[in-house]
């Protein structure tokens, strides 16, 4: 497994400035991930 996630490019700032109109929210992550055991109401 990767232990040092070096992003391919890091002009993150310029990307974010150019897409400033996009909703900022906490970050611009397009993927959120969770264990399927991670919601309540199922045993």
């Amino acid at each position: 497994m990767t232990d040092e996630p070096t992003p391919a490019v890091e002009p993150a700032d310029s990307t974010e400035i150019e897409t400033a109109a996009a909703p900022a929210v906490e970050e611009d992550l397009l993927v959120e991930d969770v264990s399927i055991d991670g919601m309540c109401g199922v045993y």
Binding site: E32, S35, D37, G38, M39, G41, V42, Y43
Partner: protein, 395 residues
């Protein structure tokens, strides 16, 4: 939009769901959330169950948590498991281990799409059997040994945390390591027979803190089914969505096809419909009034002014309901103490009772006969003698 926000509004299909296949059970655990023991003669037939699987496949429900009662006592259990996995619905089933023989263990070890969860509520026979009945610890350990010997890795050991086993968390972790299993700790809710023993078994405030601290320190790799999101008010949230999924992304299908918001809320107030109705399960999931209202933004109510609300979201709907507390107020185990205050003035005896009662008459095997004055009075029934009464031999 965060994943949590999207989920709170509900999805067109559940992500996964609990499916209780039967109310029959060879055990009589004191805290059973489904008040199981005796088979309900109105159980879905094999054909009806397969029709439910067909619907789940069409809706792309990713997997089902099969439980009960003891699901493996149904003679068609393996037929249904195989049917589900052949139709792209993953299966995890919860069992007390009674039928996990070496042959069964080999079969499970060989399957990628079937997972198994062994229930255990004590790291020692003394603690476990007090709740689950004489011999139940031995049955569970034998199942674990068989699974381990067959090469099955990562099966779950699922523990309901109680006042009497909270000091055994390290021992549970050691058991999981010993058998190559993954530990799962879940919350005791006052649901089913749990309502009758909740006062004696639920964690005391100091113990909730003890559990939280243990999870923070040792809980990497320990599953919780997100059942402790009410503890998020202590500090940082535990891993998970910290979201009540009931009626939004998960639900329960019970042995007679009734659809409830959650397996901990088997009561007509949380009954959304029945899979035997013309629209089937999909119709219930998408159109029921109950689920529609759960998918609306929920009011913080009395908790609105509490700084912890953002973290705890008011806790568990089922815990509040079955202790007689209002749903728009504190959880009975609110870590700030608001729940205890509320409990001290609410009419506990007037609290709602679970809808059905499929309990055996005798209570926990090997345990004291429960006092049931004014409460449950099960009608004599063939299924009281054997959960398989009326079904052919075998199974």
């Amino acid at each position: 939009m965060r994943l949590v926000d999207q989920f709170e509004r509900g999805l067109d299909a559940p992500i996964c769901l609990t499916w209780e296949l039967t109310y029959a059970c060879n055990l009589a655990c004191a805290h059973c959330l489904s008040s199981s023991g005796r088979r309900d003669p109105r159980e879905l037939s094999t054909v009806e169950a397969k029709a439910v699987v067909d619907e789940l496949e069409r809706m792309q429900v990713f997997y089902v948590n099969i439980g009960g009662g003891e699901p493996t006592v149904r003679p068609d259990f393996w037929e249904l498991v195989d049917y589900a996995t052949a139709h792209k619905v993953g299966v995890k089933f919860s069992t007390n281990g009674v039928k996990i023989t070496p042959v069964v263990a080999e079969r499970l070890a060989a399957s990628d799409y079937v997972d198994v969860q062994i229930s255990l509520d004590g790291a020692t026979a003394a603690v476990n059997d007090a709740v689950r009945g004489t011999g139940s610890y031995a049955t569970a350990l034998r199942a674990m040994e068989n699974l381990h010997a067959a090469g099955m890795r990562g099966f779950k050991i699922s523990v309901v945390c109680t006042r009497h086993n909270v000091d055994q968390l390290d021992a549970f972790a050691a058991l999981a390591d010993r058998f190559g299993a993954q530990l799962r700790l879940t919350r005791l809710r006052p649901s089913g027979r749990g309502a009758d023993v909740w006062d004696e078994l639920h964690l005391l405030p100091g113990q909730q803190r003890q559990l939280y601290d243990w999870l923070v320190e040792h809980g990497e790799g320990v599953l919780t089914g997100d059942s402790f999101f009410h503890l998020a008010a202590y500090g940082s949230a535990l891993p998970g969505l910290n979201l009540c999924g009931a009626g939004r992304v998960v639900c329960l299908i019970d042995p007679i096809g009734d659809v409830y918001a959650c397996p901990f809320a088997i009561h007509e107030n949380f009954l959304a419909g029945n899979v035997r109705s013309p629209g089937g399960f999909a119709g219930v999931w998408r159109n029921s009034e109950l689920f529609g209202s759960l998918r609306e933004p929920q009011s913080a109510g009395a908790c609105g002014s509490c700084g912890a609300y953002d973290a705890c979201r008011g806790g568990c709907m089922a815990a509040k309901f079955f202790t007689g507390l209002p749903l728009d107020g504190p959880d009975p185990e609110c870590v700030v103490g608001h729940g205890a205050t509320a409990l001290s003035t609410v009419d506990r005896l007037g609290a709602p009772r679970p809808s059905g009662d499929h309990s055996h008459a005798g209570g926990v095997r090997g345990g004291p006969v429960p006092v049931t004055i004014g409460r449950r009075r099960p009608q004599p029934h063939a299924c009281d003698e054997s959960p398989l009464a009326g079904i052919g031999a075998g199974g």
